[in-house]
């Protein structure tokens, strides 16, 4: 009975260490990536990349002169330009954060497999120093 108990728990442990925990760590990494995508609004900003900044557009009526028309056109171009630059900056920062998290996730997942060895190593070093 004791043998069966231990084998049962051993099997549970192996499954946990080599499958369940890495799977969960990958899930957490994906969750963080989603959260960062939301926080930096990357999808939305890319979709609205060239929209005017805060809908700040100059409109003009039909019969006005060329210079007013050009004026309005320039204003709108600037508004879109500001919007595009601001959005690109945020998208860039967001992308870098996501890349960092992705890299960290890979390191953690791979490192996880070696955690038991690492623990034994540390204990061994500590004992040896003593």
């Amino acid at each position: 009975m004791a043998e069966r108990k231990r084998a049962h728990m051993l099997k549970d442990y192996l499954v946990w260490h080599f499958y369940e925990k890495p799977r969960d760590l990958i899930r957490v990494t994906r969750f963080w990536l989603r959260a960062l995508n939301n926080y930096f609004s990357i999808s939305i900003l890319l979709r609205t990349l060239f929209y005017p900044w805060h809908r700040d557009v100059s409109t003009y009526e039909k019969g006005i002169g060329i210079s007013e028309r050009l004026n309005a056109w320039a204003n709108n171009l600037i508004s879109r330009g500001i919007g595009t630059i601001a959005r690109l900056v945020v998208v860039l920062i967001g992308a870098i954060s996501m890349a960092a998290v992705f890299a960290a996730g890979i390191i953690v997942v791979i490192g996880w497999f070696f955690v038991p060895l690492f623990i034994l190593l540390i204990i061994g070093i500590g004992a040896r120093i003593l």
Binding site: D12, N38, Y39, F40, Y51, R55, I122, I125, G126, A127
Partner: protein, 841 residues
Amino acid sequence: MVDLKKLPFYPYILLNALIPLAFFWYFAEAFKYGLVIFGLLWFAHAVGAFSGVYGNGVAGGLAILSFGLFAFFGYLNMFFQEKLVLYTHKDFVSLIDGRKDGNIPNLALALDFYSATLLYPARALNAYIVLNRALDHPRLSFVFERIGIDRNAFRAALREKMRNVTGADAEFLPQLLAKAMDIAQGHGHNSIAVGDLFSAAVFLDNYLKEYFLQVGLDEQDIANIVFWEETAFTYRMPRRRLNAHDLLYAEGIGKSWSYGYTPHLDRFAVDVRDYVASKHPDLHVTLRQDLADTMAEVLAKDSANSVVVVGENGSGRTELIYALARDIREGRSLSPLNFKKIVLLDVGGVIAAAGDTENVQQMLIVILNEAARAGNIILAIDNFSDYIGTEEGIGKVDISAVLAPYIKSNVLQVIGIATFIGYHDKIAPNPALSGLFNAITLPDMSATDTIRVLEDYVPHFEQRYRAGITYPVLKEIVKRTDELIADVPFPQKAVSALEEVMVSAASHRRRIVTVQDVDDVIGRKAGVSLGTLQGGEAAKLLDLENLLHQRIIGQDLAVSLIAQAMKRGRLEVASHKKPIGSFLFLGPTGVGKTETAKALAAIYFGAEQQMVRLDMSEYQQPEDEARFIGSSKNDLDQAFITKVREKPSSLILLDEIEKAHPKILNLFLQILDDGRLTDAIGRTVSFRNTIIIATSNAGSNMIRQAVEAHKDFSSFHKELLDYLQNQNIFTPEFLNRFDETVVFKPLTKENLIAIAQLLMASLNDRLRQAHDITVAVTDDMLDAIADIGYEPEFGARPMRRAIQDTVESIVADKLLSGKAPRGSTLAISAADIRAKANVRM
């Protein structure tokens, strides 16, 4: 069937029995501290801060070893936690279905790890053994605090029970788990948790039920407290600084960049989320999710997508909008709505800033244009009906004409907040707005939901007033405010009451709020005496018959019936859905029916003035229904139902009830049955704290004849009722609704003399106070007064007049002629009295 061995984590249960798995966590923590200590020592040694026994190597080695052991135990702890704590049975639902189909599945499979450890070993278990094991579980501390009993006392009681109860009941464990499964399912779990076991044990065991009844809690309350603990636990979980969950639902950067600026709007509007969060920082509970979803569906449409939320002030309309706003801002609502803002526009502020009507309209146009152009604004307007319609007055402006075009052309969405009256009078009939707004009506919040709202406020109030609140206190608040405060809805009246109770407790420097505190505060507010009967009041109730007889002469049977009904009502043995007592007084005029009602009002409600009196002969036409329940807002103020709304604890006296129109009598059927009536605009008024007395002279002749024939009154009673029904004076349904039909007998000579005695005593009191004289009361004198003061058509009513005309006259003469010096006792003969009476006639 219950077989723990089949559980997938059974080996861990056995391991836990040997070494509690919590120890892994303790060891990890211990080595963590070891790491810190030795690490500091090592560092100190390395920088030469001190040298000594613990040389560099030793400190360093211990530090590294501590770290390794910390990591080791931490790693194992992580394994056990994830394997066990997070375990849920994948087929919980199929276990429940299996039971329903009559199969006998292994109920143990529904247990979570902690509950399973409580049940191991599973030999000879009963409720007391299980609970004794469960008592130290950390999650149950909250439950015991909120129940309000001492855990150690409970433990002692359990141990006593465990000693006395021997012999195993094989059915106990399957029954316990079956009940626990139902509770778990009701709470939305996928497995049986410790709290579910606790609730189930209370449901199944009578001793436990009675134990908790001591603090006024039944088994459903215990289950509710366990549920409270679960909700509170979720929100009390420690939040780490960098929380992905927060990021996922945060507004983040850049979402509002494609929407327009709104400088003018921002001057007069505030985000609903900020507004509600400032009033109620802990708002978590989302009741009425179905209404929020309906609102979202309407707002997400392409057209006709504005809403009016209709409900009384204090029924939670703004909180409902807040719940929706929170979902929308976190991107969890329907996609056309996601990431929009709901802002509360202060129209009053606009009016104040603008000055005159034309300016108001211009400013509004600017604001509405901004909101429309911004693209992500939903406007909410409180007291919406105040700004609709052409009433003249300060602060009254009609914005419907300005608003309508924006809504019609689907460039702007509005959420209006209105009361029932406001909606029916102003918004619904308005042609400009008809068809543009969908009405969402808030039904009255139930008592159970109100308790959950109060639970939400508890942390905030406890911190502020530094006193603890138990569940019985919350239950009592909801119960008493439901009974006694009719003109404010839930949850507002309960929340206000809770705060007042907390303030009172804080001012008395109490650490724990009790049910008596609640009764004192709310009773004071409503002018009613509540709570456990204290010395004076208990004596009053027991002595009620005598107290009534002090004012009412004769009518022993009547007084006895009334006293019994009152005792039942006050001790709440009777159903609390009806009025405290309802009586039909039958009998000739002037025999004490009204006097009885006045006496009862004085004794029970503290003053004769706590009475609402109606002369039912004024309600003989069908149109008179309007004066009863009102027909529109204007009539409502004078209507009878409003008087009761304002005085929910009073005695209602209906004179000559047989004269009322049948339509009105039908309204009374509702009141007598259900204790409630709905007024003309749909608000309910509670009659549950009133005493209703209807009087009638119908059948008086029959009563008189029965007395003269010395009939037995218990059988005559039925004869009288039959007569009344046969003559179509009252319908059977009407008569049956009363708690008692009381027959008042005509007064006998002895009664009259006794009344005369009472009235003379009252006269003597007045004379003593005013002139320090008294009148000697003799039997002859009383006899004379009784003769003069009685007339068959008017009963004893003329007696007061008779005394006035005779005795008081004579006394006045004597006073004026100096024959009544202070301190003297005047002698007035019967002959003088009769002579005076003849003169008058």
